[in-house]
Amino acid sequence: MAFTKEVYKEFEDVVGVENICDDPSIMPAYYGTEFAAVILPKDTAEVQALVKLCNKHKVMFRPICTGWSGMFPKGIVLFDLRRMNRIVEINEKNMYAVVEPYVISAELQAELMKRGLNFCIKGAGTNCSAMLRGHGHMDQTTSGDDRNHLAIEWVTPEGEIVRSGSLGSADEWFCGDGPGPSLRAILTSAVPPGVTPGVFTKAAVKLYHWPGPSEFPIVGHSPKYTLGEIPANTMARYYSFPSVDKMWQAELKLGEGEICYELMGFNAAMVSCNITTCNEEEEEVFAKMSKEVQGPGFFVIIAGSSPEDFAYKKHVLEYIVKQNGGKSLKTVENPEVEGILMCQCIRISASIRETFRAGGAFNSIPIMGQRDLTIKWAIGAGKAKEPLIKNGYIVDDGGAFFGWGVEQGHLGKTEIFCKYDPQNAEAKKAVEQWQQEQTRRAFTEKYFASTLGSQEDIGPALSNYHLWWQKLVKTLDPNGVSPEGGALV
């Protein structure tokens, strides 16, 4: 569904001839959709002009950054924000950084670490946009989700520029809720459809103290980078526990103790992915590690601001682990493995290994909620993976799930993967069925309402939020040009 020459020219006049393309041969590079055009705006003004044109011609648009998958209606215009890749500001005094959408987390974090700072990198990986909303490995320190979004510059679906929070009144980025307009509920909706329509063109993200090195002392070559030494006052360990309950008790106490820079509920399969350089090696290491662990577990990084601070945190960590029957995994005590994990799990640089390497695809059910409740659900969802493993549909990870406490640990993220070969239609179908069944079970058995569920099903149980959301979207987007999944990427 290509543009007419005249309409194409109107879009071209905004971005220049080199930054718009409707050639069908390059469309598959993006997704399996026939886009009307792919357009590369360079700044907010261009985004605004493009959005207004979309309204004028009643053409749908969606922005993307580095990518991953997506669903796109035929004939939609794709805004590839590749050229909007500047770190606008790092404000050390007020602890925020302002970024454009195509700044990846690896870039921002590297700049921050030089300044003794860090931010919440989402579990999806450091290759994703730094302004992506979500949760990550460092949630105990950096919290997660909308906590980290401060002021936002937003081009609405109609092409208005809205500046939220302090940006709306003082032209400063330090706060998302005021003194200007707080639009938190609209700009970071946490229930389906999940994201706000329109385009976020800049966002301020909250910064946190980073007590580690300004740069990790990496040695070796890809794909086996290791640390030349473990940085001072830092330590990484994996602990397994005799039971889920013991693991949860330890996780809670550690959260309350506020001593972990990172507590990530990796299962043994995920540790194996992280520390190995190919699929064959991963299978071997997983088999070995499965025998080494006594039960479920988690991965911890502690980082002290001084030797005394480190000694205190280490002491508390070891005490709590011991109280709950935890056992440190010898494999991770090896400084080479410890270093790999420490670097990867601060820089969040191995998420692709954990998800895509084994089979090429994965489906997951991610949940944010009361951690003990979601763990109980996840045990059942893990059990339900067993027939899929037995049939060879999904990678054998022992039926495991994973997760971590956010802030002090009562609130938490729980997630469960099924990794499979996307070329295997039977496997794909089985995984999708598992995903639907376990999402439904979570709701019907009153564990939580997953964002993967139908709005019509879960909405009535949640104050009919979906009806309100639909009204909001209709008001914001009267021409229906910004379909679901439009703003954050």
């Binding site: 598959p28 993006y30 590839d80 700049e111 450091t126 998800t355």
Partner: protein, 421 residues
């Protein structure tokens, strides 16, 4: 291998964009975080490694959808392999190989680039990838270098097209000869009988021309009886060492880059850089000496049915780790007075000079743009000079310097060694 045989690999692309950047742990900030010149310049995802995978997948499924834009994507790639390294940090899949096969398919279908066709016509006529003005061995006149086609030598020095014919680059051949003589090496050249290695033709997608050159070269080497071949050019190194092996043409020939050989000569005590060369330098890893200089791994197998992307027999991937990285650095460090400072993007994730994949010929502006980015990075180290180990890099970097007015100097590693002996 044909494009279809990489369908599984291309289907593994999860569109994560890691191929655009240096490996994530090595990202040191917002400067110099990109590793792929093509996406950095042209921005549309189609110009990235991942974009090329997805287009390849569609081509296998639906056939080739040739348009001018598609050919623009195909030929504006230096085939430098940086995407391949960054992807393979996390994934088990081939990236550069299917990109190369896609280009060869374009060639087979007659969808070539006019500028590259012209270069290949020259190759077919003269055995050179650069205009052959005069005789190939003329640079050696009066130097007393042995003619390996007439007398037995231990080492055959393959000079390469650019070094042989470009008056600006012949200094590298002379420096190499002087170094080998100083070390007492029994070496020779093929002189006018030397012919192109074919490596650059391969990069451009002209597989048959590459194979023809490879066969000619191996016949000549067999006739000479040399057991060791030394190249001064990274393209030549990759061709003889990796590509000839890929097509089972190399036999037992030992292939060394001149930087490796000098390193060996120094470590064996046969060459002693004694003269002080007061210079602060940074080193540029040529793609085809570094990540693409990694030995070929012969493998044939099938995917094991089931959930994982694993093979029988297990497949060992080339991930760029085993290229030639330390020998040139050791040589530089052995020269008294030279201070080496590294750039941000080095070794397996080095930024390309811009000359590869035929871009130097098909889109010189893009080649210079790419080289300029490297010059900027070199200048950021505070070095007075950038040292490389390939005449194509030296040429392209010099062109960028000329265009920008930078005061940075460019040296080939043999020029520095020559100053020190």
């Amino acid at each position: 291998m044909a494009l279809e045989q990489y369908a599984g690999d291309m289907g593994m692309c999860c569109r994560c964009s890691a191929c655009k950047f240096v490996p994530m742990q090595k990202v040191k900030g917002s400067d110099y975080s990109y590793v792929c010149p093509s996406i950095a310049k042209y921005n549309f995802h189609a110009y990235s490694g991942g974009g090329r995978m997805n287009i390849g997948t569609a081509a296998v499924k639906n056939g080739m959808n040739y348009t001018d834009r598609l050919l623009d994507v195909v030929y504006n790639c230096q085939m430098c392999g940086a995407c391949d390294v960054s992807c393979k940090y996390a994934m088990d899949m081939e990236v550069l190989e299917p990109i190369s096969e896609f280009r060869m398919k374009c060639n087979e279908d007659g969808k070539t680039n006019a500028a590259l066709d012209k270069v290949i016509a020259g190759l077919r006529k003269t055995g050179s990838m650069v205009p052959a003005k005069g005789k190939r061995g003329a640079w050696a006149a009066g130097l007393g270098i042995k003619d390996a086609t007439k007398e037995k030598v231990d080492v055959l020095f393959h000079v390469g097209c650019l070094t042989s014919f470009d008056p600006e680059m012949q200094k590298l051949a002379k420096a190499t000869a002087r170094i080998l003589e100083k070390a007492g090496v029994s070496f020779g050249i093929a002189g006018d009988a030397e012919t192109c290695c074919g490596g650059r033709a391969y990069q451009m997608g002209y597989k048959d021309d590459f194979l023809a050159q490879a066969k000619k070269n191996m016949a000549l080497i067999k006739k000479c009886g040399a057991k060791t071949l030394v190249t001064g050019c990274a393209d030549g190194y990759q061709a003889f060492k990796v590509l000839y092996d890929k097509y089972d043409l190399k036999g037992k020939l030992e292939v060394l880059h001149i930087s490796e050989y000098i390193d060996k000569l120094i470590k064996d005590g046969k060459l002693k850089p004694r003269k002080k060369v007061n210079l602060s330098v940074t080193y540029h890893d040529p793609c085809r000496l570094g990540r693409l200089g990694e030995p070929w791994i012969h493998w044939e197998g099938t995917k094991v049915p089931g959930d994982r992307f694993v093979f029988d027999p297990p497949k060992e991937y080339r991930r760029g780790a085993k290229g030639i990285y330390e020998p040139p650095r050791d040589v530089i460090k052995s020269i008294p007075g030279v201070k080496l400072t590294e750039m941000t993007r080095i070794k397996e994730y080095a930024w390309c000079c811009g000359a590869g994949g035929g871009v130097n010929e098909s889109n010189p502006e893009f080649a210079t743009w790419t080289a300029q980015k490297r010059i900027d990075e070199a200048v950021s180290t505070g070095a007075e000079a950038i040292v490389t180990a390939c005449p194509w890099c030296e040429k392209t970097l010099n062109e960028a310097i000329k265009a920008s007015g930078s005061s940075l100097k460019v040296y080939d590693i043999v020029e520095l060694v020559e100053k020190a002996i």
